[in-house]
Symmetry: D2
Subunit: 281 residues, 4 copies
């Protein structure tokens, strides 16, 4: 993302806990500083991308954090996938410093980040969104305004919860069909032209050999890891608890992916749930 911003002519001031992460950015012309707070001193458009809620709290609210030295009128764009309630809290505290915070989680993975084709789901006020969109247009190809702060997270979490459910559903259907004597390609063909059609079946089929170029045809390497899917399903359950939403399938999906993590599938692509369900030991 930083490289794409530099390419498009922006000045970039960067920080990461790992020097190895900032090195290629430095080589491409970015100024490297020593803390989030230093970034905020030097830039009024700030993009963050962090593993989970507690990291976001630390980077924004902690010692040497962004809010320590943020300039009035700054706009922060957080592309982490985290609890929407945390996004809303950080936005409120930013507001108290006369700065804006938008949540803008992405979908598309490492490949889309490099190619500049990420999708951004953005939560925040319309005028702040417009400012953010001008920057994000250089690193993504699809920047969607979802609503107020937190709705970017909500959209990401809901989509990924459905994705996890669908992937398990496709895996169960393909496994059952094969055991009943169907050729997996024929079954996939029928599903893909019928009411069972979904991305997990027609674009990312979990059965080895049905589609070329997907993780299932490459021993479940690459793609979207089981551990990350488990994290997103956990966020969905946290949000469901906070809003008393009934999500029986989303809850089961979390249990199943957590089981995969415990049983040695955590580093495999999330479509490996087919392998887990179908293989006998």
């Amino acid at each position: 993302m930083a490289l794409n911003l530099l390419k498009s002519g922006h000045k970039v001031v960067a920080y990461d806990v790992m020097d190895s992460s900032t090195e290629p950015v430095a080589e491409a012309g970015a100024e490297i500083v020593s803390s989030p707070s230093e970034v905020a001193k030097n830039a009024k458009r700030i993009i963050t991308m962090l593993p989970n809620s507690s990291h976001v709290q630390q980077v924004y609210l902690g010692n040497n954090g962004i809010l320590e030295s943020i300039q009035p009128g700054s706009v922060c764009i957080d592309s982490s996938t985290i609890d929407p309630a945390v996004s809303q809290d950080v936005a409120k505290q930013s507001e108290q410093k006369s700065a804006k915070y938008l949540d803008a989680p992405v979908s598309g993975g490492v490949g889309a980040a490099q190619a500049g084709t990420l999708t951004f789901m953005v939560g925040g006020e319309k005028e702040d969104f417009d400012i953010a969109a001008k920057i994000l247009d250089h690193v993504g190809k699809n920047v969607v305004h979802c609503g107020s702060v937190g709705t970017g997270q909500a959209a990401k979490i809901c989509n990924n919860m459905l994705l996890g459910i669908s992937m398990i559903g496709v895996s169960e259907a393909m496994n059952l069909g094969t055991k009943l004597g169907l050729d997996p390609k024929i079954l996939a063909g029928i599903i893909n032209t019928s009411s069972g059609r979904c991305w997990s079946s027609d674009t990312y089929n979990p059965v080895p050999g049905v589609l070329p170029g997907v993780p299932s045809s490459n021993n479940y390497q690459g793609g979207f890891g089981t551990a990350l899917m488990t994290k997103d399903l956990g966020l969905a359950q946290q949000a469901a608890s906070a809003t008393n939403s009934l999500t029986p399938m989303g809850s089961s999906a979390l249990q199943i992916y957590r089981m995969l993590c415990e049983k040695g599938f955590d580093q495999k692509d999330f479509s490996s749930v087919f392998q887990f369900l179908s293989e006998q030991q």
Copy 2:
């Protein structure tokens, strides 16, 4: 189906337990007889379509049933959605009378039946399939050979199990998203262009007002009934038990749809699971 066969110039001999069902067919030129056995005496291409496994057993194997008087070389096409094991058993018994039996469940509903645009998923030997396909081409627009006897049922059951899972998944995601502050149309738009995309979201969205002309926008009237979905999910679990297939989501889907049946949603479209999950009492 019978009317479409008559229209395409076939001679039709028909039987149904309800006279009211055969009346329009008689008016259109079919000969009405008094039992399945009578049909088999008068025709060598026989199509059946019945509510469940036990009806199929009775109509083929019972008193005054088809196999009582079936002519050698006959080809039976059963378009019921039933247990694949029952299809295989009836096929075996037909074979003993030198007749062929194919399972050929349909998808598409009453509208597609009238329009002659049903999809047939056919299980049986290739040469028998070719004979059946010539007839079915007059009542459907998509006649697929799935494999040996029983695989037509298998394909239908697997697709519908996935459909039930997807519909609940979409309902949970739309419900959670709405509770988190998202506009349902915006969320549906994001899902439909992301990895959560599926037929239940982009073609048959369960949230009232998101799509025009679907049951959810018509108080869940019409469409594919909850009771029928429950039946198909039950067949899937029966098949999963017979083959020791792991279907945790399919099993939960059956429980949820059975709950809908008990709680007064049995006559509504199966997308009413959104209403069940979202409404507070």
Copy 3:
């Protein structure tokens, strides 16, 4: 059971497909015959015990089956654990031959069978039950009249469904508690004197080392096998489908035990679900 009947002075006529099974009974004085039908010719009090529903159908209704030559006034006691609907069907067909059939599944396992301390849950008319009880009192210590034919199965199935649910529940609670830093023996002590108390915790605890002399303390050898629990949970789901009963937990329990069977735990005691849930791979 046969040995205990012989010991108590009964004459026994026996048949089994495996000669090795009847040998010790023959040595103890039983007459061995060559088919179920032969048994029925020679005895009016008939006890059967078979692996599953289809075996019962074959032994009673098939070629050389009991009903082929049953004598009027005979009383059949079937101690198999099967689908209650099958019990009811065999009872009806027995009635047509002026004979009585009771379902009388047992609990207690091989040890109780040898010691003559089995529990029998009996379904059938009161006067038939009284006849059966006089015989069963010699092989069991607890013979309970549950109601009409099929209720013996119903009681067994319901108890075992609850047992499967409880065992998974105890395993989850003990696993979670241990991960939260509790000593398993302290946690078991608290549960056993609180509202979580149950047989699976206080008598058959699944955590190695908590109780002496149970399968969990013997590498999950012996006891009640995972495959048998899976079978009983399957019968429960079949009965739930037939009666449209909501059993969300019973259905999940079946899925979990089926998973254990697929993942190499089928020959272990059913308390090994703790091992499955707690071990990381």
Copy 4:
């Protein structure tokens, strides 16, 4: 609890946000103060009991909170049922003020609180536990040392997760059995002397009429409310997520109880899950 402490000769300094709660305590001789901080100024043995984690954080760590004015050497006993991680955090912050914090959730309900027969599950160091136990012995009859701080919560949460699972399991078994033709009292009798035996069946049976004096025989009034069970199952899932523990049944139990809350059962006793599962609408 405060009344029992006064009765046993202790001096009590009390605070509650609701004056109506402290009135009877004032009448019995307690000194009423105006904030948690005031309590801490006046007493070195402090007992708190609050609805959830955020209340505990506020009362201990917030403005006018206990830690603002706590005296060195004080011992705090928190009888709230909350997230064990929050207990551990408050303990750490108490330590920094040279005070001790123990988590000591209770079981037994309002009746046991009045009668002084509560069970306390206490987490903390042994020497602090000994100090706490001397006080708690006056308000409970069973004071158990579970281990380090947080294990009191862990024990409570694990027991109640198992309790929720058992109660649903008993409800499913009793419902299925009744639909299969069994008399509920006969079925309960069999279960209570077999391997399905548990507190939810033999002491608190959820089927009206099986046991006298329990909520199910009083239209599910009184007892332990569905909303409270839902809260505890939510804490269990939070703890399971924090420790990557597999709890498929605990997770389903939360979904089922959350459904009950949404469908109008939130104020009923938690055994009303039988009513929810068995009644047809």
